[in-house]
């Protein structure tokens, strides 16, 4: 790990807390862990928005893989063909999204994230 003089045990505890919370919220609400991971990396570690979102995506790969494994291959509920063809536009989207993100101010990413959280809150209340 990169040298980090500031309280490595606290650092590890906080990372562990983020992982646990991300798993708990995705299990409870079906919202991805990113909703929790990004703001906590910003608030607790002072990550810039780009670093927080990049690290969040990497964590989501693991969370998704572990989730799929835990559900035992998802009980045959995955429509593989649908997942693959619908991933094509989604992958174009994520490539465009990351490219755009490099060109806008980091604070704009925070504001977009806040808008997403408000939308999620409204959806949860109306559910």
């Amino acid at each position: 790990m990169a040298p980090d003089p500031a309280l490595p045990s606290h650092r590890m505890l906080r990372l562990a807390a983020i992982g646990t919370l991300a798993g708990a919220f995705s299990g409870l609400f079906g919202v991805g862990g990113g909703t929790i991971i990004v703001p906590l990396l910003i608030f607790w570690f002072g990550y810039g928005e780009r670093l927080a979102t990049g690290t969040s995506l990497a964590a989501i790969v693991l969370i998704g893989l572990l989730g799929a494994l835990a559900q035992g291959g998802l009980y045959g509920n995955v429509h593989l063909g649908t997942a693959l063809w619908l991933s094509i536009p989604a992958v174009f989207g994520v490539i465009a999204g990351t490219a755009i993100q490099q060109r806008i101010p980091q604070r704009a990413v925070s504001l977009l994230f806040a808008a997403l959280l408000v939308a999620i809150a409204i959806e949860l209340v109306l559910r």
Binding site: G30, T55, A59, P89
Partner: protein, 123 residues
């Protein structure tokens, strides 16, 4: 027509994932259930696979830009199953409605914090 809408929503989900670092499942699940006729369980399972694909491509791109701390991501990702267990316990103790409203309040609180920070920080 439905396929076209699903494609547009998937594109938007990927775009949101790249912009703000979430998986995009919030949009993939409705695209799959409303427009492609999958059941909720099928939609969530299929969305999970899409999230892995999208997040993987997003991670590779962000790594190219120098925006990924892999050790931190590994700790967060590997401990998430512990959180799923915690979630199951909590879900059995607290009513679903209370949980939804609590999380809505938490989301608004976090949104407020992000906005306040974004408007004051000199980045």
């Amino acid at each position: 027509m439905n396929e076209l809408l699903a494609i547009l929503i998937a594109l938007a989900g990927g775009l949101a994932g790249g912009l703000v670092g979430v998986g995009g499942g919030v949009l993939f699940v409705p695209a799959l259930t409303i427009f492609l006729g999958l059941t909720q369980v099928e939609g969530e399972s299929t969305s999970l696979l899409m999230i892995v694909i999208v997040a993987l491509v997003g991670t590779i791109r962000q790594r190219g830009y120098g925006n990924v701390r892999l050790p931190d991501a590994a700790v967060i990702g590997l401990l998430s199953p512990l959180g799923v267990l915690v979630g199951v316990v909590v879900a059995n103790e607290v009513s679903e409605r209370v949980l939804e409203l609590s999380f809505a309040a938490l989301a608004l609180f976090i949104a407020f914090g992000l906005v306040r920070r974004a408007l004051s920080a000199p980045t």
